[in-house]
């Protein structure tokens, strides 16, 4: 095996003296799914990346300057993970368009970094043939060299480079080994514009079968030895997919996630709350006591900070999901869950979009494009918003922390609060199940598409990839707090001080918003909600987190609860039945404009989003009504 830090060149002659250097601007990064491409991307760009959508398609587009290797002048474009350029998928079309310079707004790449997983070359090389045939200078990076070595695989980079006609190097993106070849290659690609056009023997027909036989010939001629199966993966799977322990561990993992969100996340959020409140109070002291101070402190700060305090808990949840996904456990979870999915008539493929709906329904609904069957796709779109997205977390944790005692069971392992949270997640899932079942048995009788799931070997999640996820999430959350929530709380504050009488603001009780609130109160009173909650629900049609901001502002303005924290103010104002009814309402209700807009875009009509809104709000109202009436009679 060749040394790590050297690149194997197809021809051994000395590098010709550059005739004149060409200015390179863009480098494309391409590879099959699960080849470690994103890890490499993060290594090369130092996690400074831009995420955008390509025009007209839903495929996400990451790009960043290659800062970590001192090439700020080069932009690295991360293409979607694909098995071939010839598939019918949107991902493959995007990749081809970018590589051939046909993607509007993206300059044609000057060279290509092709990442392949060195532990199964027969399959991975199938992508190499179509990529080479595009004719750009290409560096083949054989990733996961650490795993290849550890599991006794053998690979001759020199022979492979000769066979492929392109430079080849073994690297380990997760350990950062062998990456020195990349700047070397870029240096040379920049000085030798024609280095990609070497005669290579490629399969004539680029069908899967011919690419495959080409790949097997190449690996046979270069004496490739595939590594033995990872012993650890086998051992772990024998436990994690065990008939009895498998589902039990699955359950334990899910419970542990919620438990940690409370035992570690709650104190963090409380600390952050104290910090933000005192910071706001100190800043307010610097301002003169006039309407501006009232606006900034009572209006904007109270609203925005009451949402901001949930940042630690949301990040913690995403940290967990990230660890599960990166380690390879999530694929096993999908395998375990497939049985349940099938029994409700859902495609196993729907599991992945549904799972991502736990973060947010918008990308989940976009991801349903991979479901070919139209009816199944509609069913998945219908049920995705029932999955408990992270925007529900603020109102859930707020109500639970305020109303549910911090009781522990089983020697402190399981807490009542975590269990209530878990039941809310289950409630959403249950609503999704019932809805799917209804759709399947009445309108949407569907044939099932196959469930094909690749199970990656288990591996340790890397800090950089976890860091990137949290960074992305945190940024998204802060952006929302700074835009949507700020705007709505501003409007709520304005309406809570109008009309102005003789140069004086109204009291909350005689304000425009109180009138509006009292006007809708009869509708929501049976649910145990007061008019402030009603305004909160109305304002959160924009986005679910907004209700916390609105309540923060309303209770901050109200002289009766001004001095109390939001939790105490709520306890002072609504009953246990009303509080639980409120979270049940949020478990079901479609309080999200972005989702409605995406559904409209994906289905090309307002019928579906309108139906979804009415259905979900109807279910939410009835469920909240029942909850309040039942709890009222018991307690």
């Amino acid at each position: 095996m060749s040394c790590h830090s050297t690149v194997a060149e197809p021809m051994e002659e000395a590098t010709p003296v550059p005739a004149g250097t060409v200015r390179m601007r863009t480098v494309a990064l391409i590879g099959p799914p699960n080849c470690g491409k994103s890890t490499l991307f993060n290594r090369l760009t130092g996690m400074r990346q831009k995420v955008a959508n390509y025009p007209g398609v839903t495929v996400e587009h990451h790009s960043g300057k290659m800062k970590s290797i001192g090439r700020n002048d080069l932009t690295l474009i991360d293409l979607p993970g694909i098995y071939s350029l010839a598939t019918y998928s949107e991902d493959a079309r995007v990749a081809v368009d970018v590589l051939t310079g046909k993607m509007p707004g993206v300059p044609k790449p000057d060279c290509v970094l092709l990442v392949l997983d060195s532990t199964h070359m027969n399959r991975q090389l199938m992508l190499a043939a179509p990529v080479f045939s595009i004719g750009l200078p290409t560096l083949v990076l054989l990733n996961m060299s650490d795993q290849l070595e550890a599991r006794g695989g053998k690979l001759d980079t020199l022979a492979l480079a000769r066979e492929l006609g392109h430079p080849v190097a073994l690297i380990s993106a997760s350990q950062g080994k062998g990456l020195g070849v990349i700047p070397e290659f870029l240096q040379r690609a920049g000085s030798r514009p024609d280095s990609g056009s070497r005669p290579v023997h490629l399969p004539v027909l680029q069908s899967a079968a011919s690419c495959r036989s080409w790949a097997t010939q190449v690996t046979a001629r270069t004496n490739y030895q595939s590594p033995a199966a990872s012993l650890w993966t086998r051992r772990l799977d024998s436990v994690l997919l065990h008939r009895v322990f498998g589902p039990l561990i699955f359950l334990a993992v899910v419970i542990a996630v919620f438990q940690v969100v409370f035992t570690i996340g709650q104190p963090l959020s409380d600390g952050m709350g104290t910090l933000l409140t005192s910071a706001g109070a100190k800043a307010a002291m610097l301002l003169p006591d006039n309407w501006l101070r009232a606006l900034l402190r009572d209006g904007l700060w109270n609203g925005v900070q009451s949402v901001l305090v949930f940042l630690p808990q949301i990040l913690l949840l995403f940290l967990f999901i990230g660890v599960l996904e990166d380690s390879g456990y999530l694929a096993r979870a999908a395998l375990i869950a497939d049985r349940v999915m099938r029994s409700i008539g859902l495609n196993g493929k729907a599991f992945i979009p549904l799972l991502s709906a736990y973060a947010c329904a918008v990308p989940a609904i976009m991801a349903t494009r991979t479901i070919e069957n139209k009816r199944e796709r509609f069913a998945t779109i219908m049920i995705a918003p029932f999955m408990t997205c992270s925007a529900r977390l603020p109102i859930y944790t707020l109500i639970i922390a305020a109303f549910i005692p911090n009781q522990k069971f089983l020697g402190g392992i399981i807490g009542l609060r975590a269990m209530v949270m878990l039941s809310l997640y289950l409630l959403g899932f249950l609503a999704a199940l019932v809805t799917a079942k209804m759709l399947n048995s009445s309108v949407m009788k569907a044939s099932s598409a196959p469930f094909i799931l690749e199970l990656p070997q288990y591996r340790w999640p890397t800090l950089s990839s976890l860091g990137l996820r949290l960074y992305d999430r945190g940024k998204l959350f802060l952006k929302k707090a700074g835009t949507v929530i700020l705007t709505v709380t501003f409007l709520v504050w304005v309406m809570s001080v109008l009309p102005i009488h003789g140069g004086q603001f109204s009291n909350l009780t005689s304000s425009v918003i109180a009138h509006m609130g009292h006007w809708i109160e009869p509708v929501i009173q049976p649910l145990g909600f007061n008019w402030k909650i009603g305004i909160g629900i109305l304002s959160s049609i924009v986005a679910r987190e907004v209700i916390v901001g609105t309540l923060g502002t309303l209770y901050g303005v109200d002289p009766a609860t001004h001095a109390l924290g939001l939790q105490a103010a709520l306890r002072h104002d609504i009953t246990l039945g009303g509080a639980i009814a409120l979270v049940v309402f949020f478990a079901f209700a479609m309080q999200c404009t972005s989702t409605l807009i995406v559904v409209r875009r994906e289905t090309n009509s307002w019928k579906m989003p309108a139906l979804q809104f009415l259905y979900m709000t109807g279910v939410a109202y009835v469920a909240a009504l029942v909850t309040n009436q039942v709890i009222m009679r018991i307690f």
Binding site: Y83, R123, L241, P450, I452, L453, L455
Partner: protein
Amino acid sequence: MDVTALSDAKVGSAGVVERVDLPDEVSDYLAHLGFLPGTSIEVLCRAPAGDPRVYRIDGVEVGLRNETARHIFLKLNSAVTDEAA
């Protein structure tokens, strides 16, 4: 050297893919995962509920429902005898 459906092969048995009788989009996707005639395949384990099952095909682990595996045929290796005794 019997040809059997993948779904009928026992856990622990191994063989070589003989043919894939599935619609084009499905078989194309499977082909990129390695499900092509001539590739060696092994039945690794089953999900807790018994279905789907996990196969190792040329070093890659893939989970398939039995309803799909029923349409993939393999030649069992005679060397691997029935271990499920």
